[in-house]
Symmetry: D2
Subunit: 149 residues, 4 copies
Amino acid sequence: MVSRVERRVIFAETDAMRIVYYANYLQYFEIGRAEFFREFLAPFTDYIDRGLYLAVTETAVRYHKPARYDDRLVIETRLTRLGRASLKMSYMIAHKESKALISTGMTGHALLDEEGRVLRFEKDFRESLKVLLSDSPHDIALKARARTA
Amino acid sequence: MVSRVERRVIFAETDAMRIVYYANYLQYFEIGRAEFFREFLAPFTDYIDRGLYLAVTETAVRYHKPARYDDRLVIETRLTRLGRASLKMSYMIAHKESKALISTGMTGHALLDEEGRVLRFEKDFRESLKVLLSDSPHDIALKARARTA
Amino acid sequence: MVSRVERRVIFAETDAMRIVYYANYLQYFEIGRAEFFREFLAPFTDYIDRGLYLAVTETAVRYHKPARYDDRLVIETRLTRLGRASLKMSYMIAHKESKALISTGMTGHALLDEEGRVLRFEKDFRESLKVLLSDSPHDIALKARARTA
Amino acid sequence: MVSRVERRVIFAETDAMRIVYYANYLQYFEIGRAEFFREFLAPFTDYIDRGLYLAVTETAVRYHKPARYDDRLVIETRLTRLGRASLKMSYMIAHKESKALISTGMTGHALLDEEGRVLRFEKDFRESLKVLLSDSPHDIALKARARTA
């Protein structure tokens, strides 16, 4: 399953190279992740209300083409791995009009309680996540690179 | 009393107009405010540990000259008003080398507890703040403008 | 004339007080301003392509209630003053569901060319702006405060 | 060669989980990278003045422990790979007092001219970079993970 959400670049997100600052793609990934959960499971606020947090353990981004002020971006988000207490999300950002690929990336997450302790997914929750799993274009590219490195 | 702290502009703080994005001066004001308290009273973390928060109720900024990537800025901070449950801070940001005035501004604050209820300053705390009061170049300019408007 | 645009709060915009960081309201104002121009005049990119920039000369914000993670905000934007080479915009941000007022503010702008020189509005452009003028709830409040100060 | 620079966490950099927002580590990496070049070669502004830009082509971060408001961080930066038109930097962020490891990461860069065309390093510049090369703790960890994956 893939969720799609649009976002328009604002000045706040650009830098003096006249392109989106490299850290701000992680904000776009956050938006994609939130909309994936809202669309297929439940909004993050529901989990937070129950004392569950999806902490970020790692992230990776590849920058293919720069995004610029006022560009309309499409953020595609997929769930690409599912462990007992962790999961991975994968992202593709493209220009809405030209379809040009802007960036790909991934984020790794661990399920934590309010005190920061790692939790295992409950069986029902894990089953509802499992049906959402996709292959990740980002991971496929990274694995190919690791093999040839 | 005035505290002075330096800060160098990074790419993250600039925008596609190749100058510091207008919102980011409020980050510089935050830094000035934190260092004022650290230097003359106590670090904010001490107040937070006691359940006290200095919420922002208003802010104003005048942009005199743009700051650019890698500029070294000097942030001057003053306490300019003191009420029973509120205070105002005033800021001046200048280029370190050229001394050119970059921006002036103010922030208004209310003392809150962890549940967001307004608190009065305790007598001792208010006395220790009172001796730090200065006139504000920013307020003087704003009042002059209000009179002539 | 008033333009309305919606925005959902993301984690990136919140801070450790669990509310939207005070500088980030200026990002919401930027979004409101861009949508006002897009709706009633032309997107900012059209002006930038012609070498025209609407620089920010001042800003003021009043924080009425905090906005929190995942809140849906409505940003209302008005053009409230028009000079020969400057203009002022006024903003109101409210919770979409509860209608509670979150913040009000203003930004002052000067028209600049690419070298940062102040330009006067051309007659046609000024006329097209003039018909969009509104009274500003934020300015009315500030003037009342200045009189009683 | 390794450069070290300190940074104190401000509210602007934290989020509603009361920790530093995951994207903001890339700001710390930017600071580390700028200080590495300033210390061992020349400030980025010198390259920009000559029309040279070090664009970011990829980035990766591992989050070991959260950083919190007012924490003092030490950012260590190394140059870990050098190609004909590209290089990689590696970063380690630790708490200044406790020495606890907060995050590790890398950024990949390409040398571009003002029109965004890829440039090869001139021979002298490449030689001056070559003597600065180090092994990367972040890359060593990633390679070990790729082997066992």
